[in-house]
């Protein structure tokens, strides 16, 4: 029986990044409870929204969650249902998924706990135009960015630029016919975009940053940890994620004013954690995006940051 846990982790069984933090909580003898979406149906669950008590009973584990004891909630679930499985014709599966997702969001009854991150804040912060607006207001340099579904109207914003970045407004990922598909950021010639079809759905069109070094800034509470991502020290053209294991990751000394902006941005968006992508060209730092649910466990083996320890400490408060 886990009676009145101090820390609650809402995630998936296959979210193995969590395991590194849970190990720290276990070693520190913190009373935590991990609830995975796959395991909900194994429990007999009740939620009392007035008393703010959630109880669950199963053969292997029982728990009682109350507001008084619940210090923090690490929320690692989506904020809304993205239906990505085009093969799915089983209504019952969609029904269960949708209702359980709403149940997960119901944990917002625990208003007094520290949320990392609160789903309402994540929902807003994931919106790319909104995060660009806030970053710009905080003084970040931003590559010229337009959202458009018109292959002609966007041109007036990029008069002297021949090549442009095109990317999806929201993550574009789906499954169909036993394959999984992703759309990555790509650089196109302006003429190509002009002759392409955009009208069915808007895209982000952005000034390209050439000869950039990519940076990932992981903001955890009041601190930020930066790594550079390069092709053996050389800039990576396009999306660095396509290089995977071939990219080189190193600790990077971010100027203090940029580091402070990253922390301010995270707070302004109502977040305690954020994974920020920057690009640096000759000492000018450009904001690209912030991901409230960005992965971090891949960074620790390349650095001395100990992000697992930092996240555990943030949860413990």
């Amino acid at each position: 029986m886990i009676n009145e846990p101090e820390i609650l982790i809402l995630t998936s069984k296959y979210d193995t990044s969590c395991d590194f933090v849970i190990l720290k909580l276990f070693d520190k003898k913190i009373k935590y409870l991990r609830l995975n979406k796959e395991d909900y149906q194994k429990f007999d669950l009740t939620l009392d929204p007035v008393s703010c008590v959630i109880e669950g009973y199963s053969e292997k584990l029982s728990f009682k969650i109350t507001q008084d004891s619940l210090r923090s909630i690490w929320y690692r679930r989506p904020t809304f249902l993205r239906e990505i499985d085009l093969n799915q014709k089983d209504v019952s599966i969609y029904f269960k998924k949708h209702q359980w997702m709403t149940f997960t969001r119901s944990f917002i009854i625990f208003e007094k706990s520290k949320w990392i991150n609160h789903p309402l804040a994540t929902f807003s912060a994931e919106n790319k135009p909104y995060q660009i607006k806030v970053a710009s207001e905080l003084g970040f340099d931003i590559p010229k960015t337009i959202i458009s579904n018109s292959s002609s109207s966007f041109q007036k914003y990029f008069k002297d630029i021949d090549d442009l970045v095109v990317k999806s407004l929201d993550v574009f990922h789906f499954r169909a016919k036993e394959k999984e598909y992703f759309a990555y950021t790509k650089i196109y010639n302006k003429e190509y975009i002009t002759n392409s079809i955009l009208s069915p759905a808007p895209v982000i069109i952005q000034e390209p940053l050439l000869n950039k070094i990519d940076l990932r800034v992981t903001v955890i509470g009041n601190d930020a940890f930066t790594i550079s991502i390069s092709d053996k020290g050389k800039p990576i053209k396009g999306d660095w994620r396509l290089l995977k294991d071939k990219a080189v990751y190193e600790e990077y000394n971010l100027p203090l004013n940029i580091k402070e902006k990253c922390i301010k941005l995270t707070k302004k968006l109502g977040l305690h954690y954020g994974a920020i992508d920057l690009a640096v060209i000759e000492n000018t730092y450009y904001f690209l995006e912030i991901n409230p649910t960005g992965e971090w466990a891949w960074i620790d083996p390349h650095t001395n940051f100990r992000l697992d320890e930092k996240i555990a400490d943030l949860l413990i408060g």
Partner: protein, 70 residues
């Protein structure tokens, strides 16, 4: 695949869908500890030096770990 002839469909990267559950190999899930346990050591899998670590969401497609969408 280019259902709409939209520019985003022109550069899709595809991966084979892994029909299996994306569970770590040689481990079982301990629901009371809330973590994967190594079958070999009977201790937290996260303690092993060579344990696989999730990278970006797109890079995790091979293991099916795409939490953001689901």
């Amino acid at each position: 695949m280019n259902n709409l002839n939209h520019i985003l469909f022109q550069n899709l990267k595809s991966f084979n869908l892994n029909p299996k559950e994306p569970k770590p190999s040689n481990a079982f899930y301990d629901i009371s500890k809330g973590a994967w346990i190594s079958i070999k050591t009977n201790d937290f899998l996260a303690k092993l030096p060579d344990v696989e670590r999730p990278s970006t969401k797109k890079n995790d497609v091979e293991t099916g770990e795409d939490l953001k969408s689901e």
